[in-house]
């Protein structure tokens, strides 16, 4: 078993970590990135890191981000345990600036700085204890179960039942929206607004709904009215 695996996707480079010792993973990653020809291939890539069962601390994540930065790569998304996610959030503020070509892209984008980042597509059920955080829009094809958390800097769209905690516009963008085929989140946040599910149980009617901020509060409407 190799300690890491690479997969190129439209969103960027998808790196999955196997449950190997951390040293081995870093050595293997460094080796892969330093391979002849790899330099030009990986340069400027956005990286989606999948950590599986492993919990990464701030130090480990920092080391990884630094290594990626040496190759002009940026970590944009993390899929994994809550603890790893917390470390990622802590570091995001202090992250090295994106590589030059990305920088130019972002600067040319009008006002909405993150709008340019492509959406993250999650094609499975997001289960209790799993947290997905992405610097752009998140699209889930599947359910978001109670106890799961989905945090996006732009919109969140769930093609399925949304029953966990959802946060759109996580960096304060109140123009973000949340849409789901069945919208019954434990808690719904957009920017710095918070709404929670009514305490009485909802009747199980399948209607696609959309939540957005209007007049300083979160409103939910049927999707067809949009």
């Amino acid at each position: 078993m190799t300690p890491i695996s690479f997969k190129g996707t439209r969103e960027g480079l998808h790196i999955t970590l196997a449950p190997a010792p951390w040293r081995e993973i870093m050595e293997e990653l460094a080796r892969q990135l330093n391979r002849p020809g790899a330099q030009s291939f990986f340069r400027g890539a956005r990286v989606l890191l999948e950590t599986g069962n492993r919990m990464l601390g701030v130090t480990e994540l920092e080391e990884l981000i630094a290594l990626l930065a040496q190759h002009q790569m940026t970590l944009t998304s993390v899929l994994g345990e809550t603890q790893t996610q917390d470390a990622f959030v802590q570091l995001r503020s202090a992250m090295p600036p994106p590589p030059e070509n990305l920088q130019a892209e972002i600067e040319s984008a009008p006002e909405h700085a993150t709008e340019d980042l492509s959406a993250l597509l999650i094609h499975r059920t997001v289960r209790s204890g799993q947290l997905i955080r992405h610097a752009g829009t998140i699209i889930v094809i599947g359910d978001v179960n109670p106890g799961a958390e989905v945090v996006a800097e732009n919109d969140v769209v769930v093609w399925g039942k949304l029953r966990g905690v959802v946060h759109a516009g996580a960096s304060g963008d109140t123009r973000a929206m949340v849409g789901a085929l069945f919208l019954a989140p434990t808690q719904l946040r957009i920017g710095n607004f918070i709404a929670r599910a009514p305490d009485e149980k909802r009747t199980q009617v399948w209607t696609a709904e959309i939540a957005r901020v209007r007049d300083e509060q979160i409103v939910v409407e049927p999707w067809n009215a949009v």
Binding site: G52, R127, Q130, G147
Partner: protein, 264 residues
């Protein structure tokens, strides 16, 4: 000859992992399969008690891993079924006494000798759970029809998927048909709607479980016990037989009326 390795786990404690392991083991062995039940709950071992083999333990899993005993010395033969053996956990050590690689090696050795290795996982999602999952070919998740147990089962399913195991199958344990009928308990549909995995068995609440646990005589030895019959059907499904799921609604009617009558 290599046996199938099936880990029985749940996340939440007290939902019936150990009971399920012992009974599925008995049911498989009664159908002529050679089965080894392995207790991975080091430090809080129970499987030996439920199987009624506690007083026969000389060596345990940690002794084997640390080289103080050979595999055959630690394996305990069941007193009723020659096809059934138990690999007991250590009671005086903790989960960190065994590493994932050691567990995998141990199970690799065990599976050469039998048709099935059933691993009774500890509760929780920490080291002990990871040890129990690492060697598994298949995973069975036990839950009760309670929101908290279902939530933990969902968490576990996520971790099993992350460990790149095949999709786990679900046992719903301690279902009370009368409560479901009154709308006071989650029913099978509610549970499956959240977890979205394949169901392998529904086990009704059965008082016989308590007496059988205390006596060390798993209910799967008795065909009259509703829970025992349910575990036997799970074993049949593991063997690939197509067994219909029981409908429990009708069985409780008379019993319910009687117990209500008695309470008055």
């Amino acid at each position: 000859m290599t046996g199938r390795v099936i880990t029985i786990t749940s996340g939440k404690g007290g939902v019936g992992k150990t009971t399920a392991t012992a009974n599925i083991g008995v049911a498989l062995a009664r159908r002529g399969q050679r089965v080894t039940c392995l207790d991975a709950d080091i430090g809080l071992r129970n499987l030996d008690v439920v199987m009624g083999l506690e007083n026969r333990i000389v060596y345990d899993l940690v002794d084997v891993v640390e080289g103080r005993a050979r595999l055959r010395q630690a394996l305990i033969k069941d007193k009723r079924l020659p096809e059934l053996t138990l690999m007991p956990a250590a009671q005086t050590r903790d989960k960190l006494a065994v590493k994932e690689a050691q567990m995998i090696k141990l199970v690799e050795d065990l599976r050469k000798e039998c048709d099935f290795v059933l691993i009774d996982s500890p509760a929780g999602i920490e080291h002990g759970f990871r040890n129990a999952i690492a060697p598994a070919d298949e995973v069975l998740i036990v839950t009760t029809p309670e929101v908290s147990a279902v939530r933990d089962a969902d968490r576990i399913i996520g971790l099993v998927e992350a460990a790149e195991k095949p999709a786990p199958r679900l046992i719903i344990n301690r279902l009370r048909p009368s409560m479901v009928k009154r709308g006071e308990m989650l029913d099978t549909k509610d549970v499956l709607e959240v977890l979205a995995v394949e169901l392998i068995g529904i086990v009704p609440e059965d008082e016989a479980i308590i007496t059988s646990t205390n006596k060390g005589q798993p209910v799967a030895f008795e065909d009259r016990s509703p829970a025992g019959a349910a575990f036997t059907r799970i074993a049949q499904r593991i063997l690939g037989e197509d067994v219909p799921f029981m409908v429990f609604d009708d069985t409780s009617g008379l019993f319910d009326k009687m117990s209500k009558f008695l309470k008055r």
